[in-house]
């Protein structure tokens, strides 16, 4: 379980990125965080991952406070961020540093297979397409079997076709081990395909604007009436949030 309590982050230059953010995600639940750029959603993920320290508040995973990167928390960045000097297999093995080599090889193979790259382990990151590289990044985050998986706009740099393919793939992978999932995105459809609950974040400083329940049966059909209905609700809520910001700015 992921528990975020009264999380605030103000940078030394005075920018308030996040204010009083609280959220509980029970084990095996998937939450999406949606908002425009600068709404503090990336900061939120970095705080949960322990890459940055909050000014106030706390993050707990399974009752344990997170102050620095933790093995139970996996993170996929916006870019694949594969180490170019390691093969695909060795990149994935980064997450298994503490495990016996024989077991590691087995787990890496398993992870490669799970993302459909079983025969690609010996290739270099430079040789991969954007979609393949991001799948390796996904495998690298999942291979250690984290109880919380964080994704920071993971597919935003990919073309539409690859993106929707990977969204479905992510859901399938997630259903295998059901880690608690927090997806940050600006893509409404992506949020709806993946999450049970969607949180709209309002910027400067980032705070919760609305929460939308999106518990649809899986796998989700992007063309179903239900999907379209919630998508519409979500768009209206986002529009409302943006209008609110504009008024506030005036």
């Amino acid at each position: 379980m992921l528990a975020i309590r009264h999380l605030s982050k103000t940078y030394p230059n005075g920018t308030a990125a996040l204010r009083d953010f609280s959220l509980e995600v029970s084990g095996g639940q998937a939450v999406a965080i949606v908002g425009g750029s600068g709404c503090g959603k990336s900061t939120l993920l970095r705080l949960i991952a322990g890459l940055e320290q909050p000014t106030e508040g706390s993050v707990q995973v399974g009752g344990e406070a997170i102050a620095e990167p933790h093995p139970a928390v996996g993170l996929v960045f916006q870019e694949p961020r594969l180490l170019p000097w390691l093969t695909v297999a060795d990149n994935i093995a980064l997450g298994l540093d503490d495990i016996a080599p024989a077991e590691r090889v087995h787990r890496v193979q398993e992870a490669l297979r799970s993302v459909g790259l079983a025969s690609q382990g010996e290739r270099w990151p430079r040789e991969l397409s954007g979609g393949m590289a991001q799948r390796v990044a996904l495998a690298r985050a999942l291979v250690a079997r984290p109880s919380v998986l964080l994704l920071d706009e993971p597919f935003s740099a990919l073309d539409a076709l690859t993106r929707s393919g990977l969204q479905d793939h992510l859901v399938a992978l997630w259903e295998e081990t059901k880690p608690t999932l927090v997806l940050v995105t600006h893509d409404i459809e992506e949020a709806l395909v993946v999450a049970d609950r969607i949180i709209i974040l309002r910027p400067r400083p980032g705070q919760i604007d609305a929460v939308i329940d999106a518990r649809l049966p899986r796998p989700r059909d992007r063309d179903s009436a239900q999907f379209e209905d919630i998508k519409k609700d979500l768009r209206i809520a986002l529009d409302h949030s943006f209008r609110h910001q504009v008024e506030a700015a005036e």
Binding site: L51, P69, R81, L83, G165
Partner: protein, 278 residues
Amino acid sequence: MTALDSILPTAAPGAKAPGAAGSGRRRTFLLGAVLPVGLAIGWEILVQIGLAEGRLLPPPSRIGATLLELLQGGELFAHIGATLWRVGTGFLLGSVAGLVIGAAAGYSRLVRDIIDPSIQGLRAIPSLAWVPLFILWLGIFEESKIALIAIGVFFPVYLGVSAAVLSVDRKIVEVGRIFRFNGRKLISRILVPAILPNVVVALRTGLGLGWMFVVAAEIMGASQGLGYLLVDGQQLGKPDQIVAAILVFAVIGKITDALIIVVSTPFLRWQDNYERIG
């Protein structure tokens, strides 16, 4: 899954590239050889048929004969040995100092703030200006020569390594942090591989300068070495010996440079791949 599989390319891109690139490289090599080889042959013919004298610029055959003569007497190897020893020792001292101090300056803001201004100041001095001081301090024999070469090697290595450490992608370092790599592990698993390509370039630049400075050092006073052959050839009016020594310099310089490449290649395979495809 099957839909995803179909997106995958079936063969590695660039799988056919090596053969094609090989023949292209051979063609480029041959094209590049036309001019120097043509000039050498042309000059040889002009001298042979008596249209040119070739006293100040000896034809290839005479240079070859001189080389052979030096080789047969065993003299050449003694000169090469002396020069190689100077370059080797100077390079070792200069590059180790450059690596260590450069890495420290790149890694630590404090170290950089303390030493970088001084080093940049010293760098502004033309290295040959140190020679009189080195001779006073270290004498006219090996030590002052090696010190000069080490200085020449140090600066490019220092600059290259500190810049390489500074330019390591913060995003890649963050990957190390996510996997909880501590100080030493972060250095050995992330920083060292990340800077390696630039370090190799810095070492090659340093070695090039080492060869430049060994010539300067040996011209200024030596009784042995390839640089001595140059001075000796000038004083005794033997241009063939000068050109022969120059050729040996070129060949050995190229060999030592290739040695760095050969040693570093296994560690930079990931980059070679990239070049082949790109």
